[in-house]
């Protein structure tokens, strides 16, 4: 199913290496256009950074992709030809689209390990949830992820006792353990110390190639550190797209970002 190509509104065909395709997506809230025929194409394995001032539509775009918000118009296709607009949040999550919110939403009353297990068990049926245990490959994934995000030593700790940075990594880990095709990270380094930010950048870079990642970020320093392709959103549209240096030199971007670092 994932390999099926599909005719697009322009008569073009979606190529198989394209993971996510947004075209003409428009969302309005009581007359205010949060997204104004937004178009975006993501390739398999790509690391993409999305920047833009407040209200540019970054969060709304994520909401559309994860099924939280239904657009008024537009096309959203995943893995060749799956129409995401026809699916609900749960179904989209099961397709392999994981999202990390701005606000860390790890489960404070569960341990680090339990949080990861819970993430691994997504899609389990009721009987398995009630009677089964996490074994084999799933168990290994949890172990691997604990190592990847550097929380192996804290596995028995309740997530509520972690530091801010650790919680963010745990949250990223909860995405990774599901082995998603697409990871959406919303401001992963907000509120982090410099050391934590550096460590997060390193973590994200290490994922490139294994996962397709979209990072929404304000922090230009962090964006430069990631060194990935950048899409600039402004008033619900794409303002510019390209390597960090090129985008930073773009006069239109400079104007929108005047006064921002």
């Amino acid at each position: 199913m994932a390999e099926i190509s599909r005719k697009l509104p322009g008569g073009r065909v979606l190529e198989p290496h394209i993971l996510l395709y947004l075209d003409g997506v428009t969302v309005s809230f009581d007359g205010f256009k949060a997204l104004d025929s937004l178009s975006l194409v993501l390739e398999e394995g790509e690391l993409r950074t999305i920047i833009g001032p407040n209200g540019a539509g970054k969060t709304t775009m994520m909401d559309v992709i994860t099924g939280k918000t239904r657009p008024d118009a537009g096309t959203v296709l995943f893995r060749g030809g799956i129409d995401l607009l026809a699916l609900d949040e749960t179904a989209i999550a099961r397709l392999g689209i994981g999202r990390k919110f701005q606000k860390p939403t790890v489960f404070d009353r569960l341990t680090v390990e339990e949080n990861l297990e819970l993430a691994t068990q997504g899609g389990w049926g009721l009987g398995r949830l009630l009677l089964g245990r996490l074994e084999g490959e799933g168990r290994e994934r949890v172990e691997r992820t604990l190592e990847t995000v550097g929380l192996a030593e804290l596995r028995g700790e309740e997530a509520g006792r972690l530091s801010h940075g650790q919680r963010q990594w745990l949250e990223i880990g909860m995405l990774l353990v599901q082995e998603p095709r697409l990871v959406l990270l919303d401001e992963p380094v907000a509120g982090m110390s410099d050391a934590e930010t550096a460590k997060t950048a390193e973590l994200i870079r290490s994922l490139e190639g294994r996962h397709t990642l979209v990072v929404v970020e304000h922090d230009m320093h962090f964006v430069r550190e990631l060194g990935a392709k950048v899409t600039v959103l402004h008033e619900g549209r794409v303002l510019a797209e390209g390597p960090v240096e090129a985008v930073q030199a773009d006069p239109a971007v400079v104007e929108v970002y005047l006064g921002r670092s």
């Binding site: 809230f29 819970l118 949830l129």
Partner: protein, 376 residues
Amino acid sequence: MVEARNGRPLLLLLAVGGAILLVPVLNRLVPEGSPFHLEDRLVPRFGKYLAYAVLAVALDLVWGRAGILSLGHGAFFALGGYAMGMYLMRQIGPRGVYAHPVLPDFMVFLNWQELPWYWYGFDRFPFALLMVVLVPGTLAFLFGWLAFRSRVSGVYLSIITQALTFALMLAFFRNDMGFGGNNGLTDFKDILGFPITSPDTRLALYLATGVLLLVALAIAVHLRRSPLGRLLVAIRDGEARARFLGHDTLRAKLFVWTLSAVLAGLAGALYVPQVGIINPSEFSPAASIEIAIWVAVGGRDTILGPVLGAFLVNGLKTWLTGAAPELWLFVLGGLFVAVTLVLPNGIVGLAAALRGRPKRPAAAEPAVGGAEVARG
């Protein structure tokens, strides 16, 4: 949480089982003259407390674990009770005041000629038992499916559960519903052929309720350790996130909700033969809210908490309504305020704190309960 992770649940179950056995021991093995002897007439009272404890465990499954505060659990309890009451009514047979071979007294009194269709089958115990499970279970399933599917949660859900039990109360007060109206079902004679007021039957009923409590606790223990138990905690603290992780939260909630209602129904079914009556006041919203205070006093999301809370609060109620009845409502009201303000984790949480394991205040609930509203 503390117990589940660090405690030894099997030990806890054994301790509860031992405590349950105290009543038969004090009643039968301790000679009558001894100050420790428990009179026969007190056995049903403890049986009643046990039934309440089961009800509290059931409510804790949904409230403590999954964050769903039902203010209508009394309805499931009462429905189970009515199903059992109907069986007990049919057992009276021609021994009623009006000596009608089939119709219960209240129907003869209302000049009814025939048994309503929904009373058929209740002369058989297995059928009645099936209904004890099916009626509350089906109602809970339908109600829960409608509510959870629309993502009604938080105080909204609490209020419609209250409306549910209120509507049922009004319905059961009506004579033409065929459940005895105001007076409910009473004057039972025997159960499974045993005289219902004999000390032996009462002790047997007490023990049956004890077994039910142990089963309920075993279910609770297992649930807490299962992946489903963790998912429920996740749903309680952030349902949207749990959905994003790919979990079908509707199914998980519906399962534990229905399970809880069935346990409540079974508790009601064992409660009725021990207290000898079931009437519509069991459906009153205030009665349902009281269950929540048992759980809160004992400690939410703990194994022992609901059991302790049910015994303590109801013991206090029995004692105080005899000693100083005008004080009881002050005490009950005060308990509601005091427990929520100063003892959010109940007695079990307090005990854990005193044992030197500081426990953070209960996890914050979602800031505004209520329906999650899709944007746009």
